[in-house]
């Protein structure tokens, strides 16, 4: 498979979950484990153009796939992706644990829908749980990134 642009090949046990393959074999500890019933989304990565909960897939199922994790979001020169910038600008994170999964989901969401309404953003991230922020600033962070991609100025909605 290709992970963050690099070709990777390993021999693994069939039952090895993709999340553990990424974290333990490839040392990509950005995606996290937050639950055991596929609800929280902290493990979300982008796989062949889809937001996928990597805890609910075996690594072997991902053979041949192209995977993007949080570690691959910044540009090669280190410039942060608009989403990474937006999360910081808008205080869209506190403990940071849901953040990698949330950003990867937002990444695909903005590709599905480059100008989502607030309601569409909330529905779009409904597979990612956060305990710290109450989502309000996460919505703003995603709106910030959408505006940046469109080249329009981002105006925070009045409280």
């Amino acid at each position: 498979m290709t992970v963050n642009g690099k070709a990777v090949e390993r021999l693994v046990e069939p039952r090895l979950l993709l999340i553990h393959f990424l974290r333990d074999e490839l040392n990509l500890t950005g995606p996290h484990v937050g639950c055991d019933t596929s609800h929280c989304g902290a493990c979300t990565v982008d796989l062949d153009g889809r937001s996928v909960k990597s805890c609910t897939m075996f690594a072997v199922q991902a053979a041949g796939a192209e995977i993007l994790t949080i570690e691959g979001m910044a540009a090669p020169d280190g410039a942060l992706h608009a989403l990474q910038e937006g999360f910081r600008e808008m205080h869209g994170l506190q403990c940071g644990f849901c953040t990698p999964g949330m950003i990867l989901r937002a990444y695909r969401l903005l590709k599905e829908n480059p100008a989502p309404s607030e309601e569409e953003i909330r529905a779009g991230i409904a597979g990612n749980l956060c305990r710290c922020t109450g989502y309000q600033n996460i919505v703003k962070a995603i709106q910030y990134a959408a505006a940046k991609a469109a080249g329009t100025p981002f105006k925070e909605a009045a409280e």
Binding site: P14, R15, D36, K53, M57, F58, V60, Q61, A126, G127
Partner: protein, 287 residues
């Protein structure tokens, strides 16, 4: 959190998949999207010794129209149902139901075949398929056969599938143009299974219901076809009294589990409420 060990197979064709399942016997399970099976394996509630991954079989994907029937490959994801133009115009209730299945990530991987075939009373598509009078094409070592959705569900996790058989495609007769539809799902939050849900497809003529089919989700061990309730509304203008009677008829066939979504009594009543709302919404969409 950690599944038990198993052997993994990744056939390239349906024929190979069926052959493998037949050879490996009852310790083998087919793997579609895996978003029902893998969570059960992680809790060690399911411990198959072999998994036959259907993910590399191209012939199981795709949506096409075959004269009056829409044919959907079993490995078509919920996401693909949502973005399909054919379905948006011809079978809008599928898109509507798919949008309330689980969450965005699960929809990218979960398949229609998996949703209709595993017999989980909580899955949304079975009741919709019964409502649409769909049929499943099934392939096993004895060959291919077709099973009507309305005959497919026997009990919780018990279906008409014989050992080693898999659903390869779902065949849905295209509803009449101008039909009204609604899938009304009561749930605790996005991503939850239904507390109760009702699928309605109907046609109107001269202000009265000309035809109607009703499916109910998660209020019994199987999805339910509410035939009596549908009979009651046909010929009516869906006036309050008729809807009330239909809801009562629907409630009468339910036997939901009591769980954290609510008591059996509550869930039965909610089946009635969801049906009433689905009828109203379907009517508003009908030509």
């Amino acid at each position: 959190m950690i599944p038990g060990a198993f052997e993994y197979h990744r056939p390239k064709s349906v024929a190979d998949a069926v052959k493998l399942l037949s050879e490996l016997g009852e310790d083998a399970r087919p793997l579609a999207g895996g978003h029902s099976l893998i969570p059960m394996m992680k809790l060690r509630l399911a411990t198959p010794e072999h998994l036959v991954d259907l993910g590399a079989i191209g012939e199981l994907k795709g949506i096409r129209q075959d004269s009056g029937t829409i044919v959907i490959g079993a490995m078509t994801t919920q996401h693909a149902l949502i973005v399909s133009d054919i379905l948006a115009t011809k079978l809008p209730i599928l898109r509507e139901a798919a949008l309330v299945v689980a969450d965005p990530q699960v929809r990218y991987v979960g398949t229609l075949g998996g949703n209709v075939a595993n017999g989980d009373p909580g899955n949304d598509m079975p009741a919709v398929m019964m409502c649409l009078d769909a049929a499943y094409t099934v392939l096993g070592k004895q060959g291919e056969r077709r099973i009507s959705a309305r005959q497919f569900y026997r009990g919780a996790y018990a279906t008409a599938l014989a050992a080693g058989e898999i659903v390869t495609e779902i065949r849905v007769p295209v509803p009449a143009t101008g039909h009204g539809h609604a899938y009304e799902k009561l749930k605790r939050k996005v991503g939850d299974y239904a507390t109760a849900a009702a699928a309605v497809v109907l046609t109107m003529s001269g202000g009265k219901v000309a035809s109607c089919a009703i499916g109910l989700t998660n209020v019994a061990e199987t999805p339910l076809l509410a035939e009596e309730a549908a009979k009651i509304v046909v010929g009516s203008s869906l006036d309050a009294a008729t809807v009330k009677k239909a809801a009562a008829a629907a409630e009468a066939i339910t036997s939901p589990a009591s769980d954290s979504r609510g008591s059996a009594e509550y869930r039965t009543k909610m089946a009635g409420v969801m049906l009433s709302r689905a009828l109203a919404r379907a009517k508003s969409l009908a030509a």
